[in-house]
Symmetry: C2
Subunit: 383 residues, 2 copies
């Protein structure tokens, strides 16, 4: 198995890019990444995207973007697992390079979501749930997150305020990130007073949809030193799945795919939780972050929220989380989010995270989730 | 690079499966393939699908199907490049196993298209064209094929009847295939009298949309003998792209991605055209088959149709084409078609093709195409 390295990163600010086409968003992120990697020859483009067929009536993005980038001819296609699309695209690129078939690949995460108005968008995004048994009942992703959150609060006897720390931390970090969608500070008490989206999930609890594009250049580790002074190694890579619907899981408050993919990634690199310097979690909902921290083994059951409450997740503490604002503040451009995580972790490991720098960051975990934990992609990056 | 083998195949008849759910179609094909491979432990499921987000309002198919198959936990996601989705999913599985990260993978091609009425379906399928510059002008895939066909007839001075042989051959082969959608013989003269879909593309010229699911089990070549008496090797694998839109190509009648991917596949295995015993081409339109045969180097420019006219493509001649009826007669279940090709080629190489058997078949080429040649996946299989 050939070792793989990230030698270039690029991203555009997450936001509402109404005046920019889907292909131009792709171009802007990839051009940055290619420049950052000192313009290596490229063999392939793997696109992580979840909803372009639905939001933009556009499929076959690989060929479309390769052409627009002036790279027509190269291998190119799309990889999809709902909001884990970015993570699984990274997995695909990693294996392509690891196989020896591809020397250098672009991985692009992209989503252009805000052309669709918010209500229709939530409905359109529910294609990631079960179209036979869930969506006909009116299920949407925030509604399912709300069910999970209420169950958690009931089972463990915690109040809504227990979850507040995740949002506060995300916004504290996102405030310093020029690429973040919502750079506002969450004031004391704002979380409790926020308007409800799907009770108890509020406007300040769930991550906002945004348009975004982020790109990586991945190459064989033996070629990396020619192109980048600080190549970042992909040392752990795992994708796992769970029972698709919450109702079919033996224990709704345990994310099997998180547990499995984290364990596998740790085993590949012979590391454990204490070795991580930061964790870019899929913080689409505070309940999801809570369950992730528990299922991944960072904390015992029923205590995930306490890592936020106790400040363990801030930039200067034990487990810096969502260091550039995460999905909550940087924004959640669905299929692109997993690649934003990889770009941000790469900047941390290179020591180029500016105001968001985690001191002496050497090892990072990133994790991308589809549905309510139906698909989970976990990667470990090291320098 | 680890060598890879196909050790199991399965498929359902292509047709109108109104009474069967998307996941059940998947199950039926995969269960056959697992049985055929003697139930090996499986690490991953790669799904080739183009239109489920659009036709079935369902994404995240990997996790959905893994769960329904009782394989929840394994790595699983979707790979897409319009109608080349099957081919690129095979490429992904091949590289995953070749990397050493995955020992055994299921590759599933699936499409459930006929729940959508034909007119709406043609429109819905146009997401594989350019949503900014083509579809707003009313472009559909058959309409673009018609433009190509008319241009070809004009440039080379050939009549519509020149293309007839491809459809006749497909139906002659499909007639003996119990999994084919249209098993009728095309009578003498029927092609010329067929009602037009998009002139000069007629009902007997373009391939019909169908529901279908086909599956492969792919494993490390060194593990294959434990599971299958006749493992089939994947010796050549290449994906290439072209300028996305016809109008941007220097030469509309030359498919660059076909040329590139075929050359690359041949180079990997150090073979050439004469070494092939059969070719499963993406015969969605006779003009596409014509251009493929020319761009792939089987025949000189302007002469692709002559291989059909001269009977070179029949089962007992030099280049057996569409040996189980191809997309035209077996049916074109979009994202599944590339995997049907792989299943059919595997049966040929094993000598299990029954009435459709090509004598002494040792080497097969299969090719899956997205759009009008925007994405092309070519594989060479050998026994």
């Amino acid at each position: 198995m050939v070792n793989t390295s990230i030698i270039g990163v690029g991203m555009i600010p997450v936001g509402e890019h109404w005046d920019t086409s889907l292909r131009q968003l792709a171009y802007d992120a990839v051009a940055q990444a290619l420049e950052d990697a000192n313009h290596p020859p490229v063999d392939a483009l793997y696109v992580g995207n979840a909803y372009a067929s639905t939001f933009n009536k556009q499929s076959q993005l690989g060929s479309l973007f390769a052409d627009y980038l002036g790279l027509d001819g190269i291998e190119a296609y799309t990889v999809e697992a709902a909001d884990a699309s970015g993570g699984v695209a990274l997995r695909t690129a990693h294996m392509a390079v690891a196989s020896g078939a591809i020397n250098t690949a672009i991985v692009l995460g992209i989503e252009k979501a805000t052309d669709i108005v918010a209500g229709s968008r939530t409905r359109a995004r529910s294609i990631g749930l079960d179209a036979d048994y869930e969506t006909p009942q009116g299920a949407t992703v925030p509604a399912m997150a709300a069910l999970l959150m209420r169950r958690y609060m009931h089972d463990y006897g915690v109040e809504l305020t227990a979850f507040e720390g995740f949002s506060v931390n995300a916004h504290a970090n996102g405030k310093r990130n020029p690429n973040a969608m919502y750079r506002n500070t969450l004031r004391e008490g704002a979380f409790q007073k926020a308007p409800m989206v799907a009770e108890p999930v509020s406007l300040f609890d769930g991550a906002p949809d945004g348009d975004g594009a982020a790109a990586l250049i991945i190459t064989r580790a033996d070629l990396a030193p020619d192109r980048a002074s600080q190549p970042v190694q992909i040392t752990g890579s795992s994708v796992a799945t769970d029972k698709f619907m919450l109702q079919e899981r033996d224990d709704m408050l345990w994310l099997n795919a998180v547990e499995k993919s984290v364990q596998s990634a740790f085993q590949q690199v012979n590391l454990s939780h204490d070795d991580l310097d930061l964790f870019e979690a899929h913080d689409a909902y505070t309940i999801l972050t809570t369950l992730v921290l528990e299922s991944a083994g960072f904390v015992e059951r029923g205590q995930g929220w306490s890592l936020a409450k106790d400040g363990i997740i801030t930039l200067d503490n034990q487990l810096p989380l969502s260091t550039f604002g995460g999905l909550k503040s940087r924004g959640n451009p669905a299929g692109a989010s997993g690649i934003y995580q990889a770009v941000e972790a790469t900047l941390q490991l290179r020591g180029q995270a500016g105001d968001n720098q985690v001191a002496n960051a050497r090892t990072a975990m990133i994790q991308s989730i589809g549905g309510l934990g139906s698909t989970v992609a976990t990667h470990i990056l090291q320098i």
